[in-house]
């Protein structure tokens, strides 16, 4: 099967900044895929490169098998992008905005689908309202509709819920899930890890332009069975526990346990070695910790 997105050895430098550094991965058709990373990690640059807004210095990107440079027309027909910045044309109403966007993709009689989009996104009663008169959340919905006018098989949402109210976030996600069930491939970037956790099958993490993790959500979450524990001891950590130690900070040893039950064995070992536990605290691991840990260079 042709991958929905095939990114191969993509690099892009802006002056001193290596925005993308030899990034490669594939997204299969029908996946719900999350692209995570702190600000400046290269997420938006990567999405821009997929959309043809940025040209990579090297490497290739294919959308549904179409190269985004040499076969850009077919690639862009296959891709719907919701940009991160809240932008709109102040001269147009909501319906005009969507009709024009359809036309740019070569579609003329698209009103039935536009009506459906307006309805699904809760914009039906705003169809003839000027874009200027809409709230930020409503404008965001129009941007989602704009990305979908041509029913692209691959949909990319760049932080679609940043600064958006809770109600919209939920209705947006249920709509996007519906699209995913209908067979659309979804890629999203988000700062809200619980969204990635709730929605996505697979997760890629970028850091300083490099891909630092690419795993199924289940595998990433399996790491959340791990527990980190901070111990302050009366003397040195016994050598047999060295392997568990992640780091040492403020006189505490941070140990990573494969699961909570392993704590018993650690305490027994300490007792045998006559090391006294002065302080013990658990550090919960969730996707956020996995994420933060990776971003601080804790993994790979």
């Amino acid at each position: 099967m042709v991958p929905a997105i095939d990114i191969s050895a993509v690099s892009r430098r802006f002056g001193q900044l290596q925005a993308l550094d030899n990034v490669s991965f594939r997204v299969e058709p029908g996946e719900f895929f999350a692209l995570l990373g702190p600000n400046g990690a290269g997420k938006t640059t990567l999405i821009s490169a997929m959309a043809g807004l940025t040209r990579p210095d090297s490497g290739t990107i294919r959308i549904m098998g179409h190269d985004v440079v040499s076969d850009y027309k077919a690639a862009r027909q296959s891709l719907g992008v919701v940009p991160q910045e809240l932008v709109f044309d102040p001269f147009l109403t909501v319906r005009e905005t969507l009709r024009f966007q359809s036309g740019y993709f070569g579609l003329t009689r698209n009103d039935a689908w536009l009506d459906e989009l307006l309805f699904k996104l809760g914009l039906a009663d705003k169809a003839d309202v000027n874009m200027r008169a809409l709230s930020g959340g409503m404008k965001r919905r129009v941007m989602v509709a704009q990305a979908l006018v041509h029913r692209p098989p691959v949909i990319v949402l760049d932080e679609p819920t940043a600064g958006v109210d809770v109600e919209l976030r939920q209705s947006l996600w249920s709509f996007v899930q519906e699209l995913n069930h209908a067979g659309h491939t979804i890629v999203l970037t988000t700062h809200y890890l619980e969204e990635a956790e709730a929605l996505c099958n697979r997760i890629a993490m970028l850091k300083k332009g490099r891909l630092v993790a690419l795993e199924t959500k289940d595998k990433l979450l399996a790491r959340s069975n791990e527990r980190d524990v901070a111990l302050k001891l009366s003397s040195e950590l016994p050598a047999s526990l060295e392997a568990l130690r992640l780091r040492q900070e403020d006189g505490r040893h941070i140990l990573r346990l494969p699961e909570l039950g392993a704590l018993e064995g650690v305490l027994a070992t300490l007792r045998q070695a006559s090391v006294e536990v002065r302080e013990l605290s658990m550090i919960e691991v969730d996707l956020e910790d996995v994420f933060v840990n990776m971003m601080q260079g804790g993994a790979n």
């Binding site: 043809g52 807004l53 040209r55 027309k73 102040p90 147009l92 036309g103 740019y104 993709f105 070569g106």
Partner: protein, 251 residues
């Protein structure tokens, strides 16, 4: 093709929705020039034998207004889209450089023609008769608007801020359009300024346009057509090349 038609229609909608400002205002400005200059100069100057100054002035004002507004249309639309960021909605679809360029160009030409027609209409009682060569009038109206519309596309792509565009407009477009024989026959100029006018493509637009009305002008309409046509081809090639490269649009 559909992409081009849609973008063309969008560009028409854009200026037509604010036509008071994009069409009516420049027509009024031209009318004021006409009123003032015709009043002051009509008794002193006869530009061509049998052509009153009032009549002589009208085609020049019409062409100057067409040129300025064709430029304003494409350049301001592009810079606004770039600064507000909504240009992204034109960069994501599969529009070709050719579709993009001709949509902006034709909308600029339509605005130029609308303004030109308006100027001719409101100044019609100043004694400008029907054109002796309507085809030349049409050719120079179209080509003149197209050259400035293309220059507007280039300026809109190049400029990153409104003041850069304003500089382009005030320090290039305004002098070119004002110092082009709108208000005088260049035969009345001293040698240096006459020579300088000959390197200004807007001079040829106005002179050719005027020839269409009076059957006489400073130079042959064929020479004017050659200069204006060549300017259009060269500027279009530049604009298309910039769009194809994605200059300042795709990073």
């Amino acid at each position: 093709m559909q992409g081009f038609l849609t973008l063309f229609r969008k560009e028409l909608v854009r200026f037509w929705k604010v036509s008071f400002q994009t069409v009516a205002a420049p027509v009024l400005t031209a009318l004021l020039y006409q009123l003032i200059f015709a009043h002051v100069l009509s008794k002193h100057v006869e530009a061509y034998p049998g052509v009153s100054y009032s009549a002589f002035l009208i085609p020049g004002l019409a062409m100057m207004s067409m040129a300025q507004n064709a430029f304003a249309n494409s350049s301001s639309s592009l810079i606004q889209s770039k600064i507000t960021g909504n240009i992204v909605f034109l960069l994501l679809p599969p529009l070709t450089a050719l579709e993009f360029f001709f949509a902006y160009l034709l909308a600029a030409v339509v605005r130029g023609l609308a303004v030109g027609a308006g100027v001719l209409l409101v100044t019609s009682w100043f004694g400008l008769g029907l054109p002796t060569h309507p085809l030349w009038v049409l050719i120079f109206a179209l080509l003149g608007s197209a050259v400035l519309g293309t220059l507007g596309v280039i300026a809109g792509i190049w400029a990153e801020k409104f003041d850069q565009l304003a500089a382009f407009q005030n320090f290039l477009i305004m002098p070119l359009t004002f110092l082009s024989g709108v208000f005088y026959s260049i035969h009345s100029l001293p040698g240096f300024w006459r020579a300088a006018s000959h390197v200004n493509p807007v001079f040829y637009m106005i002179d050719g346009f005027r020839y269409g009305f009076f059957g006489q002008a400073d130079i042959s309409p064929w020479l004017s057509l050659g200069v204006v046509g060549t300017s259009f081809i060269l500027l279009s090639a530049l604009a298309l090349w910039l769009l194809h490269r994605g200059y300042k649009l795709r990073h």
